[in-house]
Amino acid sequence: MISGYIIGLIVVFAGVALTFSAFLKERDDVHKLILADLTEIAGLAIIALTATDLAEALIIPGLVVGISELLAVSEIYLTREKLFFQPEKLFTIEVMDSAPGIMGAVLVIFGIILSGFTGGAVAATGMIFYFLCKGHKERFSLVETVSAYAWVLWIAAFFTFMLAPSYWFFGVMMAGGAILAKVVAKMSLIGAMRGESNA
């Protein structure tokens, strides 16, 4: 009997082969960037088919590396092509005028409830959406300071695990809150980079 796992593996490996064949033919750099995103999805599907806690433990670091790689490569591309100018026509749809306040608030509150890296990414999505739609006038040095203190808290949480293991729950809460603040602070800069001429 053929299990779902085997069928899934066959389908996903066919997809991976398709993606890489498209990669070989592609010449345009932005298309390659989008294909890299597609390759990441196909690769994560292989891990997801493992269907255990191991899959969860492997997918989350994969996502972190994926988003940072995408950010870095897109920055390198913009620098190499010297695309520093402010685009004359920004992408706008109607929902960007009506929704940002409520959407941003709901996502940030849900992110704080989730905590940890997942919560950080959810809350950052809300903040990016708000900044993209409404523009920004916040002070970046303040965001950087929050991020640095969050980093210190995270390290302190790990010292709590090692030096006072009986306070493990305090350590978990501290690490979860700190990584939330760190991810939100770093990721929300993406939304602020949109309109800047020197970003």
Binding site: V12, A22, A42, A48, A55, L63, I67, L90, L132
Partner: protein, 78 residues
């Protein structure tokens, strides 16, 4: 095999085919085709009860779309 897994694998392969060989070579069209494959992966994650991965993937896909839209915007002005 659960219905979510079957539908997810179907959407995944369709989305990958559409993303790898799109009919029109427009950046935004291709990005939307990639989202089909992402939806397929979300259904696969759902069928195996991988909650944290699912939530993180949803959030990270939204972030990646923001990053890619920024590049496309500067490249072509939409």
């Amino acid at each position: 095999m659960t219905p979510e897994l079957i539908l997810g694998l179907l959407l995944l392969i369709v989305g990958i085919a559409a993303g790898a060989y799109p009919r029109t070579r427009d950046y935004l069209d291709r990005l939307i085709n990639v989202e089909i494959a992402a939806t397929g992966l979300m259904l696969v994650l759902l069928s195996f009860n991988e909650t944290i991965s699912l939530l993180t993937f949803v959030a990270v896909t939204a972030l990646a779309t923001a990053v890619l839209i920024r590049v496309i915007e500067r490249r072509s002005g939409i």
